[in-house]
Symmetry: C2
Subunit: 306 residues, 2 copies
Amino acid sequence: MEAEFIQWLRERLPAHPRLLLGAGDDAAILSVGQSQGFVITSDLLSEGVHFVFDSAGASRVGRKALAVNLSDLAAMAARPLAAVVSLLLPQHDGLRIAQELYEGLLPLAFEYDLTVAGGDTNCWRGPLVVSVTAVGETTASGFLRRSGAEVGDAILVTGTLGGSILGRQFEFEPRVAEALLLNERYTIHAAMDISDGLALDLSRICLASGVGAEIETASVPVSEAAYNLAGGRDFHREALLHALGDGEDFELLMTLADAEAERLLRDQPLEIPLKRIGLIVSRPGLWEVDAAGNRIHLEPRGYVHQ
Amino acid sequence: MEAEFIQWLRERLPAHPRLLLGAGDDAAILSVGQSQGFVITSDLLSEGVHFVFDSAGASRVGRKALAVNLSDLAAMAARPLAAVVSLLLPQHDGLRIAQELYEGLLPLAFEYDLTVAGGDTNCWRGPLVVSVTAVGETTASGFLRRSGAEVGDAILVTGTLGGSILGRQFEFEPRVAEALLLNERYTIHAAMDISDGLALDLSRICLASGVGAEIETASVPVSEAAYNLAGGRDFHREALLHALGDGEDFELLMTLADAEAERLLRDQPLEIPLKRIGLIVSRPGLWEVDAAGNRIHLEPRGYVHQ
């Protein structure tokens, strides 16, 4: 339902000189006063949809509720400023749950120099709901967006992909520092964070940019967790499908002009892996290119919001 | 639980040079770049706690979810800029509900020149939850806060009070324009919006300012709705208690130096009523002063968040 609704909504939201970038990217960018650009993003996590309370625990839910917003700020190459936290707490044990939640959230806020500026706290007879809105500012290097990919661009990802369900979905480090550094030193044409799976999110960059993409599957950085999930006869293929389709990697997905990507890969300026996985092409759609050079159409798999 | 939790949380939120005013007022104020002050506030409404879906309808819930945030911006005398909207929709009829909700919310956003900058939309098996975060900016006149009331100040309110449950809870007009005008032309010591009832909210101004207050009950502007709710033998007293205790008036409550209040009341610069209802005193607590001049201790009644 989400895609259909967002389309309906976008048609009803008028352009405004204050809105530099509206709904449809990882965050919105506002022009406020003298500032470069003011970035705002919001994510809501609810028990039973986004997490299982008994296995996750309130502390990890609290950390994640902020971390997904930080990852959205990273996708825009924005510096975090502040967040507000709205809670719907179960009536039983609400205070303890709220405290544990903040004990997971606050250390991450301090780590990223983000101010927790308030929010709204309520109890009800339902399950736990956590809604976090984070604000940030763009730097002198400007902001990143999904729609700038150009034919001939190299496609790069940070980290390794797949199998986040084994733990990474709660423990991931939002790539804020990495995005700020890359945006300062290199010209990045398009970027987003991988929240719904590499293939699906890459298809969104393609759609926003009016291009297609070829993924060289042999180059995709498959995580250890993805291998741990793959247990069948076609072990390597299974792990690759996890890397292509699993959600919640929260790594950066970027496209850069070929020569710029070469320079970046030579420099390797990050402490985490940075890998080239494919090419932006003019032919629409997603294409898998295997080691033998065969092109196969790739369905954008991944987590689709209902 | 809310008060206990906020206390616990405030002890854990460190001061930050960026945070001009933190949790505990109607909104937080951030210093961002060159801007005067950046204001952020968040309110979450949930079915069964804040509204009954079948009687309210999605459109009025959508309008209200934004209006309560606008009222918080008004309480700080901030100019609205943008909002993000996060939704948890029931699986049955989710798209229609989301559309109706925005059909209530968007006209109010346009009216206040507020940009809807995105959000997060989810479906689940639970009831409707709407979380709105609004951002605004302070003007050259600075911002209003709860903690500035001084002994000898006159206490003023806009509009009439009580009985919002008969309709006003959904139809109220946030006092954004009024707050901006008053803050530009007059020196206001303390202000907030009346969301939980006059007596309870006035006791919060007193607590934040380290003062007490006397309410001249004969001067309290009792609404027609409060009279409609009062049906017993002591009709006038009952209506007054609704005006003192009912939540969701969303009028402005302010304190000003006596002479400044006189000037303001002479000018009557607003198109809505503006009335003096009492006096800030040094003796802590809330005091009711009747027509004969008797002082009675007044319990802060009102809606207490659980």
